[in-house]
């Protein structure tokens, strides 16, 4: 059943990714197919997660591939909050190809199957994984928003004649969204690290934990620079750097899994 739903999700995400690329040239023709691709794909992937959750004996997303599946769902879900508006379609161009590619990787690595990596009863582990994944998804979307903000700033500075024909959110709105998303992600990461710390005596400190702490410091720096110091542009650059940190951590998880 889960396998049957993965294909529609993959196809819809792929279609959305292609439509977002087309949207840059012809918004009238590609705007709606892109939005519907996101919606249908996300619903199909929600179905995959429900089937996994029902079938598995324990928490089905504690493996690396499973967590990637959940991560993609969270990223697309976060994007869906804004993605249905034409002004945020440029963000979709960044998010949807990534989502389609990562879901395909997760599928190939067995992350959409109903296997279990941890028991539901292990509340500490389950909440640790769920909260950290929520924060990863949040930092990814915040990075996308920051990229859009930096692009908007550049456009406004360079005074192109067609400036008003580029449909994008305003600079101030992007700034506020980036900061809010980083704040929520940081809160989730903080809450996710605490159960992780409870397991520290058993596991010991490793590179992944150190990387997670770096990500936390990055998020905190974004908020400090933006709210206390007023360095909007630097904060946006750091938020964009958060995506890089998430990618490194995901790769780290993969190597840990392979090892």
């Amino acid at each position: 059943m889960a396998e049957l739903l993965v294909w529609p999700a993959l196809l819809a995400y792929g279609e959305a990714a292609v439509a977002y690329a087309g949207n840059a040239r012809n918004p009238a023709a590609f705007g709606r197919p892109a939005t519907w691709g996101v919606r249908i794909g996300w619903l199909a992937q929600t179905g995959v997660l429900v089937v996994q959750g029902v079938r598995a004996d324990g928490f089905p997303w504690s493996t690396w591939a499973g967590s990637l599946n959940l991560f993609v769902w969270l990223v697309v879900g976060a994007y869906l909050i804004w993605g249905c508006s034409p002004r945020y379609r440029l963000l979709g161009l960044g998010v949807m190809p990534l989502a389609a590619a990562l879901l395909a990787v997760s599928f190939a690595a067995g992350g959409t199957e109903a296997g279990s990596g941890a028991a539901w009863g292990d509340v500490v582990l389950v909440s640790h994984i769920a909260l950290v994944l929520v924060s990863f998804a949040g930092f990814t979307v915040a990075g996308g928003l920051a990229a859009l903000e930096l692009w908007q700033e550049r456009v406004l500075k360079s005074h192109p004649a067609g400036l008003l024909r580029m449909r994008a959110p305003s600079l101030v709105v992007l700034d506020q969204l980036t900061v809010t998303t980083v704040a929520v992600s940081l809160a989730a990461l903080t809450a996710g690290i605490v159960p992780g710390l409870a397991r520290l005596p058993d596991r010991g400190l490793d590179v992944l934990i150190a990387g997670t702490v770096v990500l936390w410091a990055l998020g905190a720096s974004v908020l400090y620079l933006r709210v206390r110091v007023g360095r909007r542009e630097l904060a946006a650059v750091l938020a964009l750097g958060g995506v890089g940190a998430v990618i490194v951590l995901q790769l780290g998880l993969l190597f840990a899994h392979l090892g």
Binding site: Q152, L156, K157, H159, A161, G162, L163, L164, R165, P169, S170, L171, V172, V173, D175, R226, V229, G230, R231, R232, E233, A235
Partner: protein, 410 residues
């Protein structure tokens, strides 16, 4: 009834002629009432056009009256005015009005004001069935064009481009603080556009405090001496400058000095002055967005090019609506023939029922009602096909000179 348009516009007449035949709201209503005495009339008068829409049986005589009325209005001999007038009939007149309502006949394609002007003219007119349908469809066409194309979305003036830019930086302008430097007309126009989007005019700075106070009072702001502007930079969101000073009013150092207190909030500076009021080096400061008159003019030119592109799509909508109106006009021709046919059939039905009267005398009310209903249904079914043919004949392209009834009878 036939539709007729007599008018003049910026496409044919210079301003000197247009201003002589221009009408105010009362004038529009009075002339419509006078010309509509023998039919229907609507007068549409804007700064770009004065047009008289008439519905009359004799369009020749109606056209003469309309031309006389315009000549009287302008106080010019008729022969002098006629070269500037156009005269359109039936669907050509309708399609012209649809183009006007859509903003396609305006100086700036897609401008939105004309829609309201057409509505006002319609409300002040002496309308009957034909002009009522025409103007309602014209308003519908204007609305469709603005909804289904992007023709009216982009700014068409430097002042509205400045407001659109501010929205690009700040999003919702509600509560954003504007400082206007220079109390001239240009700055006022830009401020008016910003205020109409929800921004608040905080200060007007000018060399003459009297002029600054006069402008500030109109927008609920305060007047400020010119040398006190940099003190307000930390709190302002948008600065609009348009003085006639020879040297810059705002230097890079002044603006840079205000930035730390702004805590990363963007500052939009709109410099509409020539020579420029704001040091061009300000555009290199982080969080400052400086636009001068050339930047804004190139934005306006670009959006006007976009509007012209959208006009092609808008023309297709106007053509479709024109065709719909033509079909409706044609269907009016067959109405008398259909009515006559129905009347004749009804007379025959009643006559036959009357002949059967003695034999139906014993029927109950219910049975009599059933017979009435049955005969009605038979007549309706028999008439259905001829009526459809009449309507089709009315919609047809070719006109063989015969009345619809004649065409039906072959």
């Amino acid at each position: 009834m036939r539709l007729l348009l007599v008018g003049t516009s910026h496409r044919l007449a210079p301003l000197e002629v247009r201003e002589r035949v221009a009408l105010g709201p009362e004038g529009e209503a009075a002339l419509a009432l006078r010309l509509g005495a023998s039919g229907e009339a609507v007068c549409l008068s804007t700064c770009n056009r004065t047009e008289l829409y008439l519905a009359a049986d004799d369009t020749g005589a109606a056209g003469e009256r309309a031309t006389e009325a315009l000549a009287d209005l302008g106080g010019v001999p008729r022969a002098e005015l006629e070269p500037y007038l156009y005269r359109l009939e039936q669907e050509a007149a309708a399609t012209h009005l649809f183009r006007v309502a859509a903003g396609l006949d305006s100086l700036v394609p897609g401008e939105g004001e004309i829609q309201g002007q057409v509505r006002s003219a319609y409300e002040r007119g002496a309308v009957g069935p034909l002009l009522d349908r025409l103007f309602r469809q014209a308003l519908h066409t204007g609305k469709r064009v603005r909804t289904e194309t992007a023709i009216g979305e982009s700014p068409a003036s430097v002042a509205s481009a400045a407001a659109a830019l501010a929205a690009q930086v700040f999003g919702d302008l509600t509560g954003r603080r504007i400082v206007v430097v220079g109390a001239g007309k240009v700055g006022e126009l830009a401020a008016r556009n910003l205020v109409s989007r929800g921004a608040e005019l905080s200060f007007v700075a000018n060399r003459s405090l009297d002029r600054a106070s006069s402008l500030a009072e109109r927008f609920g702001g305060e007047a400020l001496p010119l040398d006190a502007v940099d003190g307000e930079l930390a709190r302002a969101d948008i600065v609009v400058s348009s003085t006639s000073a020879r040297d810059p009013i705002l230097s890079r150092e002044q603006v840079a000095g205000a930035l730390p207190a702004r805590k990363g909030r963007p500052l939009l500076l709109v410099d509409l002055a020539v020579p420029r009021d704001v040091d061009p080096a300000v555009r290199n400061l982080g969080g400052c967005f400086l636009y001068d008159i050339d930047d804004l003019q190139s934005v306006v030119e670009e959006t006007l090019t976009g509007r012209r592109g959208e006009a092609i799509r808008a023309e297709a909508i106007v053509a479709a609506e024109g065709e719909r109106f033509r079909a409706w006009l044609a269907s009016l021709d067959s109405v008398p023939a259909i009515a006559s046919l129905r009347e004749r059939a009804e007379t025959i039905r009643r006559g036959e029922l009357a002949k059967m009267g003695p034999r139906l005398a014993g029927l109950s009310d219910r049975e009599r009602h059933a017979v009435e209903s049955l005969t009605n249904q038979i007549v309706n079914k028999l008439l259905h096909q001829p009526i459809m043919r009449l309507k089709e004949a009315g919609f047809g392209e070719e006109d063989d000179g015969r009345a619809p009834q004649g065409r039906l009878e072959g």
